[in-house]
Symmetry: C2
Subunit: 265 residues, 2 copies
Amino acid sequence: MSNSAPVGVPGAGPASTVQSVDRAITILEVLARTGEAGVTELAGELGVHKSTAFRLVAALERRSLVEQQHGRGKYRLGTGILRLAGATTARLDLVQESRGISRLLAQQVGETVNIAVLSDGAALYMDQVAGSSALQPHNWVGQRIPLHATSNGKMLLSGMEPSEIDGQVGELRRFTANTITSLPDLARELEEVRTRGYAIAVDELEIGLTAVAAPIRNGHGETIASMSVSGPTFRIDARRLPQLAQAVMRAAEDVSLRLGWRGAA
Amino acid sequence: MSNSAPVGVPGAGPASTVQSVDRAITILEVLARTGEAGVTELAGELGVHKSTAFRLVAALERRSLVEQQHGRGKYRLGTGILRLAGATTARLDLVQESRGISRLLAQQVGETVNIAVLSDGAALYMDQVAGSSALQPHNWVGQRIPLHATSNGKMLLSGMEPSEIDGQVGELRRFTANTITSLPDLARELEEVRTRGYAIAVDELEIGLTAVAAPIRNGHGETIASMSVSGPTFRIDARRLPQLAQAVMRAAEDVSLRLGWRGAA
DNA sequence: CAGCGGGTTGCGTGATACGCAACTCGGCCC
DNA sequence: GGGCCGAGTTGCGTATCACGCAACCCGCTG
């Protein structure tokens, strides 16, 4: 609705692709964004004829990547997506290796633990372990969260070249009074993250939400993911923060070691 | 490797699709199955030229549905899949409505709770809530499990026409001495499930694993999903089973009510 | 250093996916 | 109740686009 650009991938050039595949993927992403859509609506979104959109959707439906409501009607994402996603995480070393450690950490500190990676200008949750059974965070694996307003996001950004950062974050949207909204401020913050070894976000995405994140590195020493502990600000105060940071850093390092990281260079 | 059929979807006819989209999806499924594969390998799998496979993979990569290992090399499923999956579950009424109820049930009985739907001849886990923090089930959302050897699977099968069942289950693979491997036996078992209102599987998929499942229905009274409680057989004995069954049935009915089900016809 | 195996790219052609238009079907308004 | 409208679906002919070919690049191995 608010979106206007109808086709193509944002950053990349208009270079060669397989047109119909690209369109099919666009359909999937539109459905991910809107929840459900009809053939005509989809055709409008990608600027093709109804029949073309229909055939694409039909191809996707045949493999159950999308489903139509009840015989006739609108389409939504289907179970095939979940099958693929299951295979994705099952195969991903990162999730495999981190799961047990995350669970221990969550139990130890009693807060929610998340693992996130960079994905097209956002932090993408790969795994989540709930802490105290009390209130459950509404976020879930697969959700994308802004880079500049979260501890995970800042952690991931801190591993990149300053020149790249600009392109990744886009507009620095304000969520709360504490959100960092200027590029120089962000650069300064990231510098601090680098020297300190962990990232913090207090009331920056949401009032009352605090998080601490530490880097997960692969065998080459690159920061490939971020592990965070998050919870209500009233429970994670200034006194407790440093000790949480230590715990997350230790846990993240454990994961890094399992991924082939040999320790600080 | 063991697979031979190179193209197409098993059940459906060879009718019209968008060829390149279909091939692209096949690539995703091959990657889901094998974990990773190179261009040449993929080309072999779907019987096309290297360059064709490459272009398809490139199209998928541009949208991060697949990623290549490190610049050069093999391909695996990418984060884009997870993004889509996140949107899928976030939008699915079923998961939305069931989550809280599952959690309560898990807490109440201290065992793991699963929600599964039918997806191309297998039960597909849509959601999972761990019970006692002790041993964690290794399965995960997105995993596919056989229909004839699980409580969820039998529950889902029991909602179908007998004529359809044959096509869904395929070969009745044996997992343990208790696995049902003949079609007549299965039919008998399903009949029992229907009259009893819940399904059981004791040591049928794995020795030491017991589960009980109840139906989740939509507004039209169709069984669209199954909710199960599962745990080690030594903890779920013959005495405890009936009371667990009652608990699952009540929980599943709660979910059904939220989905518009008006109670038994 | 040469050979090999795998990924990548330019090119011409024919299969194929596209747009068009007609059809079906359900819902709504009159 | 009938006719209109809008949305999904299908057959057809054609221009496009995706395919196969072959050459190329590159890292690895012997």
